[in-house]
């Protein structure tokens, strides 16, 4: 009988530092929620977090909670609870899992962090529809439940070139959030504090970019699967000094790996790019599947989405507006394709995996002919796998496995020629 190859996934030492960062972050939020010492704002993952920090809020991001619901595989049982009250199984399974968890009064935070029962209570909910409309509906549910204000930025979608008009509109909307935030926080807005937060955020973004760029080394010292957990601090901690300190430690370790020519995999034969969201409940299974085939999934659009190089403390509102509109997810297919072409080249990619996530069309870029066009232009082959970020009912492990193995066979044949 043929044996399955046993694979050991190498851990990065500094993952502990980032783990500690996340723990501190949740305890601080929990404390604020319980004592009322600080106000808590809920924010979408690519929302205007810097403004919230500048006004003294602790910022909580429900999407990371949802990702935890996914990776702890709690989501699949909770999604139906939200379905039952009218949130369709076809919409964002971050939303449905999170609302399901709220209805059932359960949270992965309670399992991981002793003493924390669940997410911190919000004082205000702040969204940006730059990523999707679902976030607005998601937050609207909580605004009602907690009886707190909900404000947000209504962004553009399918943006070809980011123009002054886009930037102005978004910047204006951001400024208009200030009075509500002042009222909730009881703090007067101070532009210098915003500059500080934007500067820290930019630094975080630069460090995170440097971390991800190390994957250009051959062999790559880091995988996409590492990145999905290491990026926590870039999502929830941008605009804080602590996040930046944690990334410096990580960066050092990655650079040491590069110097030693030590790869994230024992044997890197193929270099792959991941387009789309992770399948949170299969993170380690997928990491092992690819590693067993000596295929290093080393870069992704997803992890790179928390890079905001336009942020500029000199011009905080405008630069935030630009940074949060320039993002991949906000753009039309032509700029998206250019982005991926650049990534293919920079990371020396042999193949692309598109994850068609059933409940997130916004992060599934294989639905309008992009894979076919890019393959034609670059000659880099692709594979689409059908799945979902959180809803494991939408996944066929066997089919994924066969598809991935067959794709690697295809790459092998190409290399052999």
């Amino acid at each position: 009988m043929t044996e399955e190859k046993k694979v050991v996934i190498k851990r990065l030492e500094s993952a502990k530092v980032l783990g500690k960062f996340m723990a501190d972050y949740y305890y601080e939020l929990d404390n604020a929620s319980k004592t009322g010492e600080k106000k808590v704002a809920w924010c979408t993952s690519v929302g205007p977090a810097e403004i919230l920090r500048a006004m003294g809020f602790l910022v909580y991001f429900p999407e990371t909670h949802s990702a935890m619901l996914g990776s702890s595989r709690m989501a699949t049982d909770l999604i139906p609870k939200a379905n039952a009250i009218g949130y369709s199984p076809d919409i964002c399974s971050y939303l449905t899992a999170d609302i399901g968890a709220y209805l059932e009064k359960v949270s992965p935070l309670a399992k991981v962090f002793k003493g924390i029962e669940g997410p911190p209570k919000p004082d205000v909910l702040v969204f940006n529809t730059n990523q999707c409309r679902d976030v607005q509906d998601w937050f609207a549910f909580y605004a009602k439940e907690y009886n707190v204000p909900i404000i947000g930025v209504h962004s553009f979608v399918g943006v070809q070139d980011v123009t002054e008009a886009h930037v102005k509109s978004v910047a204006k909307q951001m400024e208009e959030m200030i009075p509500t935030l002042e009222e909730v926080s009881g703090t007067k807005f101070d532009i210098d504090r915003l500059r500080e937060a934007v500067a820290l955020s930019r630094e975080c973004s630069d460090l995170w970019k440097e971390v991800l760029d190390t994957a250009a080394a051959v062999p790559s010292p880091i995988t996409f699967f590492d990145g999905t957990t290491l990026m926590g601090a870039a999502v929830v901690g941008r605009g804080t000094q602590k996040a930046n300190d944690a990334y410096r430690v990580l960066l050092k370790e990655l650079k040491e790996r590069i110097e030693r020519k030590e790869g994230a995999l024992e044997n890197e034969r193929f270099r792959l790019y991941w387009e789309g969201m992770p399948v949170w409940g299969r993170l380690s299974a997928h990491a092992k599947l690819f590693a067993s085939l000596d295929a290093c999934v080393l870069a992704s659009t997803y992890c790179n989405s928390w890079i905001f190089s336009a942020l500029d403390p000199k011009d905080p509102f405008t630069s935030m507006a630009r940074a949060y509109t320039e993002l991949f997810i906000v753009r039309a297919d032509a700029p998206k394709e250019k982005y991926i072409r650049d990534m293919i080249e920079f990371f020396k990619v042999d193949g692309i995996i598109y994850h068609d996530a059933k409940t997130c069309p916004n992060n599934s870029n294989c639905r309008y002919g992009m894979p076919q066009r890019l393959e034609k232009e670059t000659g880099v082959p692709y594979l689409t796998i059908n799945g979902d970020l959180n809803d494991l009912r939408l996944i066929s492990d066997e089919q994924t496995k066969t598809n991935v193995e067959a794709f690697i066979e295809q790459l092998e044949e190409r290399k052999a020629k």
């Binding site: 043929t2 399955e4 082959p381 939408l394 066979e409 295809q410």
Partner: protein, 265 residues
């Protein structure tokens, strides 16, 4: 070259297990097909025994064995596994050495595989989560219409006024079928409608290149599907002699290629 050597390919599909035995000249000398059942290992063993009997050979002549398919890890005598995508491609290219698009209709899934003129795979696709368009769809419908699976092909050929079924979904299609029965439609017209919907689901999966090959158990037993597909795409379709065996034959070919003695000869 050792003429006595034999190579075995075993394709353990979700529905059927197929074993092919080839000699060093790549000739199919024995084969067997059985229901995969619940004990894949035992089924594969039984198939091997049967195929070797057909070849008039003993186990000692086996110089290599590779397994493929859904249950590929459960074959006790295989030294290696390959995916069914690779094996179907290899099996088809043996019979049609040219640039081809392969449509394989299996019990649980469909595959579309494209090869260039060197037999190198340029792309492949498997159907998505639903059974629509696969053998499972026809299996689901046969009891509803109260007609045995093996009668479907003959019935579909008789149809003069095909019923069109609109839905993607197997369950919705079943409802449509019931509605048509209620409306007094002829069973052969409904069956042809089912065949048509299988073909539609496949056409939706990918574009086809000039030369199209059809394989798989569903094609083996329902050749009328090929005729219908030819009508729909407006050109002749190639079908190997044993369309159900291409995966197993491909696996056997991989085993032959992996054989060092053969390679050095």
């Amino acid at each position: 070259m050792n003429q006595d050597k034999l190579f075995v390919g075993t394709d353990v599909g979700a529905s059927r297990t197929k074993v092919a035995v080839i000699d060093t000249a790549r000739k199919l000398v024995g084969y067997a097909v059985r229901k995969s059942g619940t004990n894949f290992t035992a089924t594969a063993d039984a198939c091997l025994k049967e195929a070797l009997e057909m070849a008039g050979a003993g186990k000692e002549r086996i110089a290599g064995a590779i397994s493929t398919g859904y249950g590929r890890k459960n074959v006790s005598y295989a030294q290696q596994t390959r995916t069914e995508i690779g094996c179907h491609a290899k099996g088809c290219f043996l019979y049609f050495p040219m640039a081809i698009t392969i449509i394989d209709i299996g019990g649980q899934d469909n595959k579309i595989i494209k090869l260039d003129e060197n037999g190198q795979r340029t792309s492949f696709k498997m159907n998505r989560k639903c059974a629509a368009g696969t053998g499972a769809f026809l299996e689901e419908m046969s009891p509803r219409l109260d007609i045995p699976l093996e009668d479907m092909d003959g019935l579909a050929r008789k149809s003069k006024d095909m019923v069109k079924l609109g839905s993607f979904c197997t369950v919705f299609s079943a409802t449509e079928v019931l509605e048509n029965i209620r409306n007094g439609k002829k069973v052969e017209d409904i069956v042809k409608g089912l065949f048509y919907s299988v073909i539609r689901r496949i056409i939706e999966m990918d574009s086809f290149t000039e030369n199209v090959v059809m394989t798989g158990g569903v094609v083996e037993h329902n050749r009328y599907l090929v005729t219908m597909m030819e009508e729909l795409i407006g050109r002749k379709i190639l079908v190997p002699e044993h369309p159900q065996l291409t995966g197993a034959i491909g696996a056997a070919l991989y085993a032959l290629e992996a054989d060092a003695v053969y390679r050095d000869a």
